[in-house]
């Protein structure tokens, strides 16, 4: 059996009980040619250093657990082929997030922002189950479908320069998911969300860096959602001046 080639991994480590600040640790391991970056991390944990902590689950780019900075770019490590990288690979926790341990970041900040946009169907009167499913044409489904593809992997937050500098900004994924519901023909909550979009976490903080959409592994295009939300928020505000309850979509 031929020798497997080796690669060096420079991995960020941080244990709040023993480290003042994060440090890096180097590992050199044999790798297989079709491995993803995650396979290498799992090998390190299983065979070399059991103290390395990282999140992962589905390994098929749909659960959103394994987001990390690989050579300075936010990536899903289960999706990134090792062959795209050189002999030394840097793996760090996602930028812009407080770090709990090693490659594990604090997600509660996102959960707060997420909940604040009311990401659920808002209806004045709930339908009875006996009435059956609501009707929705394929065209109506297309209007919001792209924005519903978000797996909450947080790569967009790691890439966004505004998230880095303005803590109140709601951020790409949360705005995209709020907007997804506002665009859903079954929802009646657009007015409420538009008010939230004009509020403290204002969508207008977005300066269209478009980094979120560049790094999104699911082609959600959150930049489109955020900037559409700007228009929606303005139109809602303007019609609110003229009409008593704001415009109906």
């Amino acid at each position: 059996m031929s020798e497997r080639p080796k690669k060096k991994f420079i991995v960020t480590r941080f244990d709040p009980d023993t480290d003042d600040v994060p440090r890096t640790q180097e590992y050199e391991i044999p790798v297989e040619k079709d491995w993803k970056v995650l396979d290498a991390l799992n090998f390190i944990k299983d065979e070399v250093d059991g103290t390395l902590s990282h999140r992962w689950s589905c390994r098929m780019a749909v659960c959103g657990s394994c987001g990390m900075m690989v050579d300075g770019e936010p990536k899903l490590t289960c999706k990134e082929p090792l062959s795209s990288y050189g002999d030394t690979v840097e793996v760090a926790p996602l930028s812009n997030f407080p770090v709990i341990r090693d490659l594990v970041v604090e997600l509660e900040g996102f959960m707060d922002k997420f909940k604040s946009v009311k990401p659920w169907i808002v209806r004045a009167k709930r339908l009875a189950v006996e009435e059956g499913p609501m009707r929705q044409s394929p065209e109506e489904l297309e209007e919001f479908k792209q924005f519903s593809m978000c797996i909450n992997c947080m790569l967009c937050y790691a890439a966004c320069p505004v998230v880095a500098n303005e803590p109140d900004f709601i951020g790409p994924a949360a705005i995209a998911l709020g907007h997804r519901y506002s665009l859903d023909s079954r929802d009646e909550g657009a007015a409420e969300r538009n008010e939230i979009f004009r509020g403290e976490g204002t969508v207008f903080s977005c300066s269209f860096a478009n980094e979120c959409s560049e790094v999104c592994p699911k082609h959600v295009d959150p930049a489109a959602a955020v900037n559409q939300a700007k228009f929606a928020a303005v139109i809602d505000w303007a019609t609110g001046l003229v009409l008593p309850r704001g415009g109906e979509r």
Binding site: I121, P133, R135, L141
Partner: protein, 572 residues
């Protein structure tokens, strides 16, 4: 002094079943407080990876009778017919509720929900959302649940033990993974919704979190695990990674081909008749295994495989109905299904077996309910039809929620001191396990030996000698597990400690699977034996029960609830 938290209903597991149960509790009684305890954030639950669809009668040419019969026959007549009857009747309501809550079901031109064909289903009744149904269902459920303040989430909390007092379950001990602290959460009913245990096998569609934690918790508390020998091999997983390529590829018209380019399900007699690629999963997995054994498979770096050919569907249909499949094939198999066939082989996908429950989702332990893949009601008997399990999560998640509320109202709090003492015991045990340097046994090596033995003894085709070997191997591994060495003694987010506890759960589940398999001397559904190739209704038309015993698993039996459908030969 251990911290004690209190809620009315505790739910362990935040996937489709757990979330549906939480919502059901709040809807039944909005004054109750629900703890949703999950070792991962809910959107990471493995529900998210389901692709094909969820079944419920929807079309005018479909009836509950037909869905019921398909399910009973698919289960090789081991499914409990009262459970199945209830399930098919509730199914459309549950999927409708999900639609009301925002699930983006794919639609027909007229705006009604679209349905597709699926294996073993006599007509189109599988509701779908492109080919990401699990993702959309999970996220719709989770996002819908966010509006209820009564649902308090304990994310990244690993339940290590059920706390039982005076004959009923009254709480859980849970390790807060982030803080490294064990806490007690007291409640009046506990719903287990932790999913299956595919990770006891080496090749599985399952993600790393599917380690059977909830099955082990119930097992160790004296509740039987039912029908554990029935492990579903999904016919079309990618070689190596085991990543799922949905049955919907066959539902939309894909063909399975051998190394000669023949559609072997049509060319040779594998019992699927003219259903061909739309036959039930156990039969197709066996057919592929036999094709490979007959030398008509294709050699690859991860073993032998056959082909799933979608080229004739055309790029437009693939992009519209199977976009995720196209992406998965490109990223993880290096092929574009528009122009090349996809390499596939059977991989472990689902456990029909699980915690012994009945039509109420209740167990033999008062206060303990179970729903979803972790449970065996038994809806799926010896073989599950594709697209029934997502609906199952909703139907029995809701039922568990409702029944847990009724139970909780009728029961007292139990002896607090006794329960807290159990919690303190757990905290001490977990603290002792963390970073124990002694011992030479490596976690990953025990795990690998376990999966290899399970593959050889409890694969698609089984026989007594190798099953018995596996039973012995699991006992040996459990002994060696007691001597495991762990490197990480940190408290904050210690994933090695969690992996060690998951391995403990997997060994318990694996021993139950192997012992149950060794005891069933017939072939039925997914349990196929070379040394007992026929179904034996005379002697084995019953459920296998497996009880925990320190000297080795104790096998028993439980009657199947028959109904209007008499067992017959299972031909398609």
């Amino acid at each position: 002094m251990i911290e004690v938290l209190r809620h009315d209903i505790l739910i362990v597991g935040g996937g489709a079943a757990g979330l549906r149960a939480a919502i059901a509790v709040v809807e039944t009684d909005p004054t109750l407080s629900v703890a949703l305890v999950s070792k991962v954030y809910p959107m990471r639950s493995h529900t998210v990876s389901a692709e094909g669809g969820a079944a419920a009668v929807a079309r005018v040419d479909d009836t509950f009778e037909m869905h019921g019969y398909d399910t009973v026959k698919g289960s090789d007549f081991l499914g409990d017919q009262d459970v199945i009857q209830y399930f098919v009747e509730e199914a459309p309501k549950e999927l409708t509720l999900l639609e009301h809550w925002g699930c983006p079901w794919s639609r027909n031109e007229d705006g009604t929900v679209a349905t597709r064909a699926f294996g073993g289903m006599s007509t189109k009744r599988t509701w779908y959302a492109a080919d990401k149904v699990g993702f959309h269902m999970l996220h719709s459920l989770f996002q819908h649940s966010l509006q209820f303040d009564q649902i308090v989430r304990y994310d990244e909390n690993f339940v290590t033990r059920l706390l039982v007092d005076d004959g009923a379950v009254r709480g859980v001990a849970t390790l807060d993974i982030r803080e490294g602290v064990v806490r007690v959460i007291l409640g009046r009913a506990v719903i287990m919704a932790t999913g299956g245990a595919g990770k006891i096998f080496p090749f599985t569609t399952n993600g790393t979190i599917k380690t059977g934690d909830g099955m082990a918790l119930a097992y160790r508390s004296g509740v039987a695990l039912k029908d554990m020998e029935f492990v579903q091999y999904h016919p079309t997983g990618l070689p190596g990674t085991g990543i799922l390529i949905t049955e919907a590829t066959r539902g939309e018209g894909g063909h399975l081909k051998n190394s000669r380019g023949e559609r072997f399900l049509v060319e040779y007699d594998y019992g699927v008749g003219n259903k061909a690629e739309l036959g039930p999963r156990d039969m197709i997995s066996r057919a592929i295994t036999q094709e490979i054994e007959a030398g008509r498979g294709v050699e690859g770096s991860y073993g032998t495989f056959v082909y799933l050919d979608l080229r004739h569907l055309g790029e437009e249909k693939i992009n519209k109905r199977l976009p995720m499949v196209r992406e998965l094939a490109k990223i993880y198999a290096g092929v574009d299904p528009v122009s090349e066939p996809i390499p596939i082989r059977p991989v472990v996908h689902y456990m029909m077996g699980g915690i012994d429950t009945d039509i109420t989702a209740g167990t033999s332990l008062p206060g303990l309910y179970a729903a979803g893949e972790v449970a065996s009601a038994s809806l799926n008997g010896a073989n599950r039809l594709g697209s029934n399990s997502l609906t199952e999560c909703l139907v029995f998640g809701a039922e568990a929620g409702r029944n847990a509320v009724v139970f909780a109202k009728g029961i007292g709090d139990g002896n607090q001191a006794a329960l807290v003492a159990q919690g303190e015991e757990e905290a001490a045990r977990v603290d002792a396990l963390r970073g124990r340097q002694k011992g030479g046994e490596k976690l990953s090596h025990i795990r690998n030996e376990m999966t290899r033995s399970m593959e050889s003894g409890c694969g698609v085709y089984r026989e007594q000698a190798s099953m018995d070997d596996t039973v012995r191997k699991m006992a040996e591994l459990k002994g060696r597990y007691a001597d495991i060495g762990l490197q990480d003694s940190s408290k904050v987010f210690n994933t090695e400690l969690v992996a060690a506890m998951e391995l403990g759960a997997m060994l318990d589940v694996a021993e139950a699977v192997a012992a149950s398999a060794a005891s069933r001397r017939e072939s039925r559904g997914a349990h196929t034996r070379k040394d007992a190739p026929n179904r034996d209704d005379q002697n084995f038309l019953h459920h296998t029960l497996c009880h925990f015993d320190p000297t080795g698993p104790r096998i028993g039996r439980k009657e199947v609830t028959l109904g209007k459908w008499e067992p017959e030969e299972r031909k398609y």
